[in-house]
Amino acid sequence: SGCGNKDASSSDNITVKIGLLKNVTHAPAFIALQNGYFQEKFGENAKIDVMAFDNGSDFSTAIATGEIDMGFVGPGPAINQFLKSKNFRIISGSNNGGAVLVARTDAGINAVKDLVGKTIAIPTKGSTNEISLRLLLEQEGIKVTTDSSGAEIITRAPADTLVAMRQKEIDAALVPEPWGTQMVQEGTAQILVDWDKIPPNNGDYPLTLMAANDKFIKDHRDLAKAAIEANLEAIRFIQDDPTKSYELVSNELKELTGKGMDTDLIKSALDHLKLTHEVDADAINLMAKVSFDAGYIKDVKEEELDLSPMLDLSLLEEVTQNK
């Protein structure tokens, strides 16, 4: 396979710094780590350093500053950061979908249009989830405001969202899985829009992508390709043996945060996303437009908003063609 063409000069005594978020939606990365795919593909001489982030914007800052070489991130923060620093690329997809809109059981919300005058939580400003939410609200003609004439969007770390929902601080939340499922299981919330109805593309939008620093791609193209291979292999593994995957994901989570997770939750999370290496450029451009409209993208004119330079799918092509 592709891992055979290791270039000794490139992989000797190098530490590859891989970034990821502590979310179940990063399952392929977790599996690749747990099963040692990265190590296997990189070769013996490469060391792997894993850095876990709480949110995508920290991740994006880190990849832009060279703090990490490559990793897994959502498109929202990646777009924001790319438009500023333009020094990293999206090299592959990992999975799509994976987020749900839940509403508090006793908030009297039965449809998206009921969200007028309600408070909806998202993990971070500019995140992929916010973009979905804004699209969703736009479809129903609901404005984003800070008063009761529209819907109010606030940011909450997912862990805080659980508490906030319990305390009726928020009425709804568009969160990555398994947080939504967890709230449903707790009985505090119910699913309002399921993962495969979330825009854009009804759940078939990029949620987790692989990104790599320009410098890393230039100096270690082989390692970048090896990482893509690891990702592909992990995706296959999950598809082949989901039950085993749940356990592995839980183990990785325990390593990253000190606490594992119920396999049921992991199962529901994985059920709610679509594993794929493909990257939908149109969806990304649409997301960028939403971000722009929300005022998150500054110093760029709308007509110049072209994100094709952010995608560098040549490595992915090389890997898939080698198969």
């Binding site: 949110n55 914007s57 994006s60 800052t61 832009a64 500053t65 923060p77 924001n80 950061q81 500023k84 620093s85 408070t119 971070t124 400003k125 500019g126 995140s127 800070t146 606030i154 940011t155 909450r156 770390a157 805080d160 508490v163 906030a164 305390q167 601080e169 971000s291 998150y296 500054k298 110093d299």
Partner: protein, 232 residues
């Protein structure tokens, strides 16, 4: 790592960007509202802290057994960054103003009570004796007629440090709390990597801090100190 600082680019906003952020913030953005909201929270917490802290300090200075039992606890609490209480505040009060005010109050009260304790313990015994001799008693009249003014220089120092602590706690608390505020703006700007707005908030905070220090505390202190004839 230091070299990075000089490799500006997107890492530091240009003056134009900062001006633009100021302009946007004040005209269409939430900057003005954020300032007002933050100041409101700050002032509420600050007032509570000062009143509570001064009273606590008085009790500690006055009742030896309190000082010996709970005194060390206050010292211990004083050393805990109020941000560490944040998780509890969120659980107890929710992600709302109450939590932020709680955090901010906790951040400023202990310092204030230590300052008040020191101030009252350091009152010249001659003043206390003179007051008692002239019939000021030992209770509340003594407290507000003699102890508070006599301890004023110390109290003032306490107030200034408490103010600084309160600011720190406020911003930290607002970073996670819901609503409008400078801390929330900071967090939002960070999320979308908007360094110009971040710088603009830092400048706003610095200006408010300097102004409040200069216009309120320093002036008050100077006036009081003038009265006291610069005794230290």
């Amino acid at each position: 790592m230091g070299y990075r600082i000089f490799n500006w680019g997107w890492k530091f906003p240009s003056p134009q960007q900062t001006f633009q952020a100021f302009y946007d913030g004040f005209t269409e953005g939430p900057l003005w509202g954020a300032i007002v909201a933050s100041l409101r929270r700050l002032l509420i917490s600050f007032a509570i802290s000062i009143a509570l802290g001064t009273t606590l300090g008085f009790l500690f200075a006055r009742y030896r057994f309190l000082d010996q039992t709970f005194g060390f606890l206050v010292v211990a609490l004083q050393t805990v960054p109020s941000i560490a209480w944040l998780p509890f505040a969120i659980i107890w009060f929710g992600l709302n103003d109450t939590a932020v005010i709680f955090i901010t109050t906790i951040g400023a009260t202990w310092t204030m009570s230590m300052a008040s304790r020191t101030g009252i313990m350091n009152i010249s015994p001659i003043h206390l004796r003179a007051a008692r001799m002239m019939g000021a008693g030992n209770g509340f009249r003594m407290f507000y007629q003699v102890m508070v003014p006599a301890a004023f220089p110390h109290l003032m120092t306490g107030i200034r440090v408490a103010w600084a602590f309160a600011w720190r706690a406020l911003v930290a608390g607002e970073l996670v709390a819901r609503g409008v505020g400078l801390g929330q703006m900071l967090q939002d700007s960070r999320d979308i990597g908007d360094t110009a707005t971040i710088l603009c908030i830092v400048i706003v905070i610095a200006i408010i801090g300097t102004l409040s220090d200069h216009l309120c505390f320093k002036r008050l202190e100077d006036r009081i100190m003038l009265r006291f004839g610069n005794i230290k």
